[in-house]
Amino acid sequence: MTIQKRTREQIVEKVAQDIPTSSFVNLGIGLPTRVAGYLKPEQDIILHSENGVLGFSALTNPEQADDDLINAGKELVSMLDGGSFMNSADSFDIMRGGHLDFCIMGAFQVAVNGDLANWHTGALDAVPAVGGAMDLAVGARCVYVCMEHVTKNGEPRIVEELTYPITGKNCVDRIYTDLCIIELKANQAWVVEMVDGLSFEELQQQTGCKLLDGRSTEKLKVSV
């Protein structure tokens, strides 16, 4: 059987399904933004965006598009009934102050201890850009990462120790990749789900740290 890799859309769909109902959630720019498209109304999720918007959805009516109403990825959005605006200091108080339940971010690398690298490749000629990533890393109660399991060159992105500049220490709780879902707990990486057609040994080969098999144990739950 060939490996049934998840597409990028399937990765974010999976993340969306796993967010507990009635959570406050911040979606990072890039792939995580697309989680919004898979949230169901009955999940009762309230989205926060770093630019000072709480309680919004993807643009529902293009006729109501407004250049002053965007998300962190600078995409046009719509307000929900109950939504609110705030200045940037209040917006980051939501994160740093520990009021946000979940944050979904992309990453270059994640270490087994939960260290996150997603702001700088370290390349000398790169223009560094951090945005709100470091604030989300320290502030959100729970950080989920979604990314491809390996780099374009086949190098593992889930590693023993970061080689890219760090964004935040010990902050990542879960990783969703095209191959599996990994839960990080107490410096251990537990595989809680894998795609079909992939053996545990094959997954281990594509991972830079030791994996533990958490599939048969009772599903690990992240406490919020």
Partner: protein, 222 residues
């Protein structure tokens, strides 16, 4: 008291070479594009610009960067999908960059407006951003000492203003405006609409006029 001006050129001409200028906005949302473009025509040099982003699209800050008047950008996210202008200037060594995580940018600007000497923030601890900075362990958590960011001028974007300089904002265009208004010595607000004193319900005024020195209606910026 009347802070409304029809002659913004005279106000902007007071901005000296080497000034530190805050500009509100998250990308183009809330960016005082018309004020920035009026500033380009006046042409003060060696500016330090404090803004969340750098170039976005083909207006406002992008044109200011292209004008060569900017020596340094202090921002959190200088990359943009819709402009390579900053990237090219930075790689050519024509503009300096001080990268500040966005929440630190917000609270350092807020600290300036609040008259605080410094803040301890958990954001950036253990990263390159905190290299060489003082840290402290407080109640089991690690913090980095960060200093306020002040400015000579703030150019901000509001929805409505009255002659006292009271401001309301529009949607997500509020972002850094209320913080910058307090942190700069002189704040100039461009607004969509000027209303009579008393027309703004005191409950909905976001920036009280004490933080604003000049107000100009967008249509009055030449």
């Amino acid at each position: 008291m009347n802070k409304i001006t029809q002659d913004i050129e005279t106000v902007l001409k007071q901005i000296p070479d080497g000034a530190h200028i805050m500009t509100s906005g998250f990308g183009l949302a809330g960016q005082p594009i018309e004020l920035i473009e009026a500033l380009i025509d006046i042409g003060p040099k060696d500016l330090t610009i404090i803004n969340n982003n750098a170039a976005s699209g083909d207006r406002g800050l992008t044109n200011l960067l292209l004008s060569g008047l900017v020596k340094k950008m202090i921002c959190s996210f200088p990359r943009a999908n819709n402009s390579k202008v900053f990237e090219e200037l930075y790689k050519a060594g024509k503009v300096e960059l001080e990268l500040v995580p966005q929440g630190n940018l917000a609270c350092r600007i807020q600290a300036a407006g609040a008259g605080l000497g410094a803040i301890f923030t958990p954001t950036g601890f253990g990263t390159k951003i905190a290299e060489g900075k003082e840290t402290r362990h407080i109640n089991g958590k690690d913090y980095v000492l960060e200093y306020p960011i002040h400015a000579d001028y703030a150019l901000i974007y509001g929805k409505q203003a009255d002659q006292w300089g009271n401001l309301t904002y529009r949607k997500a265009a509020r972002n850094f405006g209320p913080l910058m208004a307090k942190a700069a010595k002189i704040t100039i607000a461009q607004v969509h609409e000027i209303v009579e004193l008393g027309d703004l319900d005191p409950e909905i005024i976001v920036t009280p006029g004490i933080f604003v020195q000049h107000v100009v209606k967008v249509g009055d910026i030449k």
